[in-house]
Amino acid sequence: MRASKEKAVAWNYGKKGVASRIFDTFNVLLMCFLIVVTLYPFIYVLFASFSEPLRLMAHRGILLAPLGFSTGGYSMVFNNDGIVNGYMVTIYIAIVGTLCNMIASLLFAYVLSRRNMMWHGLITVLAVFTMYFGGGLIPTYLVVNALGLIDSLWALILPGLINTYNVIILRTAFNSVPVELEESARLDGAGEFWVLVNIMIPLIKPTIAAISLFYMVGHWNSWTSALIYIKTPTKYPLQLVLRSILIQNDTQASVAGTAMYQAGEDYAARMLLKYSTIIVSIVPIICVYPFLQKYFTKGIMIGALKG
């Protein structure tokens, strides 16, 4: 009986009718097309960034390889004070900011994971409500202003210190730690901090790594808070510098200094600077991407929505 059932299933699955095979082929082709569409813009930029500027300018249509080879764009990027400085600011924010984010988020997630306290419900509601309703741009700006944080790098860290969504993910992870582990420690007289640091945190390391990466990528890519709060150009993070180069075409100053490119070649040099800057700014993301991907495919991020 069972064998015949399996046979039937196998027959039905295995029965690759013409329509089914056409679909499979079509599906694979579609996915290949999707891969090309997703990656080609980046590949184009990569090829363009290594191309010789004048040949690039004269070229029409898609690129299948760099036109010649030149690292002129990259030397412009690394000689550009604005970009280098922006890089430094962003690295600083990514490290200090993520550290602050994680300390605050872990502490708060630990609080939310303690269910045997009277005000647990109220504390959770206070946090979750902010996910659906907020003060908006102007009132938040006024608060940051009132705290004297305008033009301070702390304005890029403190207003987004705790991401409630991430806290819920961490709380879910804390809740999955077997209670017995904690109980035995408590019988030996361990306090809250001891339990948190020596039992809870080591057991949810993968989740912590994932959330840290998410905060870090968030800091790396963030630019609106700097746009709103930072006034001094030397405190601009990378993305804000990028914006002035990529969006506002403000490359005059950066190119003019390079004697290598004279007026006629100015346009070509500017193009090259743009493409090189894009590559330099996304390399760090590409580097952490395999780790990022490893965690979210495990379904860690999804657990939160269900929890």
């Binding site: 089914s20 996915m31 708060f108 609080v111 608060v143 990529l246």
Partner: protein, 325 residues
């Protein structure tokens, strides 16, 4: 599995809450404080973040009803009631902002909601698991690239001398300055959004798909369902709750278009189709200093969203028993 763990946590060490159920309120307060003193102190510390950076701005919304002047402070400024709301509703901006905000979101809902579902279903049908993982790895990537870079590439490709124009010119089509022509903006905005987010958006559906009982699929196969019928009658109903949750969240933010991408892409010549409520609040409020007026505009936006979220959630709860809370 998770639920039982949570339950066991509830009755954990020293008896849990149950042990002082028969005490008076005050006695319970005291006992709870003694037991969880440190937890409450940490909670207070963390909640102070919420009070300062989330609830204080919510209180600051009152400037929407006041004529806020920085020199006089929030408390010292005069109340003006609904003046700014009336001003906004009767201004010529109102129609344009509302139309742009709603249309961008409507197209995003129409095309952006099904796209990741279709991708997840197609990925699920792939025979080779390795190829599936490769597609996933590639399509998740753009989500993690910054908006500035994405928009920078977009503007470059769409410029008069850009890649798109070069290519269409080869086919004999006239070059266009895409970013100067209002009629292209919504398409560009929504399409690039899907390009950037479709892979990442499919994760949640793929995770729901992995929960589909294989026995159901086997049973359907025995009953003579073909591939398409199995997807239609088994797989799709199984991920329907996830789809509905995503739909509720989308409809609940139908008035939300982040100003990030808008202000990166738009320019004065295409405000007609590209200026949305959030970008208007940024430009008119923050850059030009009309704090009260733009706070009123922002508040109008949040309230519509919040009401819609509650409404859609309520309807969904009644109709399909699926809801956010």
């Amino acid at each position: 599995m998770n639920k039982t763990e949570i339950k066991s946590n509830k009755v954990s060490y020293k008896g849990g809450l149950a042990s002082y159920e028969n005490l008076s309120f005050r006695a319970r307060l005291v006992k709870d404080w003694q037991r969880n003193k440190i937890i409450y102190l940490i909670a207070l510390l963390c909640l102070s973040y919420y009070f300062i950076f989330c609830y204080a701005p919510m209180g600051g919304i009152m400037i929407a009803f006041k004529n806020y002047r920085p020199a006089r402070g929030i408390w010292g400024s005069d109340w003006v009631g609904l003046k700014y709301f009336k001003q906004f509703f009767s201004s010529h901006y109102f129609g344009r902002l509302l139309r742009n905000t709603l249309l961008i979101n409507f197209y995003d809902l129409l095309f952006g909601l099904p796209a990741p579902i279709i991708l997840a279903l197609l990925l699920n049908e792939l025979v080779s698991q390795r190829f599936k993982r490769t597609v996933q790895t590639v399509t998740y990537l753009p989500y993690f690239i910054s908006q500035v870079v994405i928009c920078g590439i977009l503007l470059d490709f769409l410029s008069y001398e850009g890649l798109i124009n070069q290519v269409i010119n080869m086919f004999g089509i006239e070059k266009t300055i895409f970013m100067q022509d209002p009629k292209y903006f919504r398409t560009i905005y929504v399409a690039s959004g899907i390009w950037q987010g479709v892979g990442y958006g499919s994760i949640i559906y793929l995770s729901a798909l992995s929960g589909v009982d294989p026995q159901l699929l086997d049973a359907a196969a025995i009953d003579g369902c073909n591939r398409f019928q199995r997807v239609w009658h088994v797989t799709l109903p199984a991920i329907l709750p996830t789809i509905i949750i995503m739909l509720i969240l989308r409809v609940g933010s139908i008035m939300n278009v982040g100003f990030e991408k808008i202000i990166l892409l738009y320019n004065e010549s295409i405000y007609e189709t590209s200026d949305v409520i959030s970008s208007f609040v940024y430009r008119y409020g923050l850059l030009q200093g009309n704090y009260s007026y733009s706070t009123a505009v922002g508040l109008f936006n949040s309230i519509v969203n919040f009401v819609l979220l509650i409404l859609v959630n309520y309807v969904s709860k009644k109709v399909s028993d699926i809801s956010l809370w």
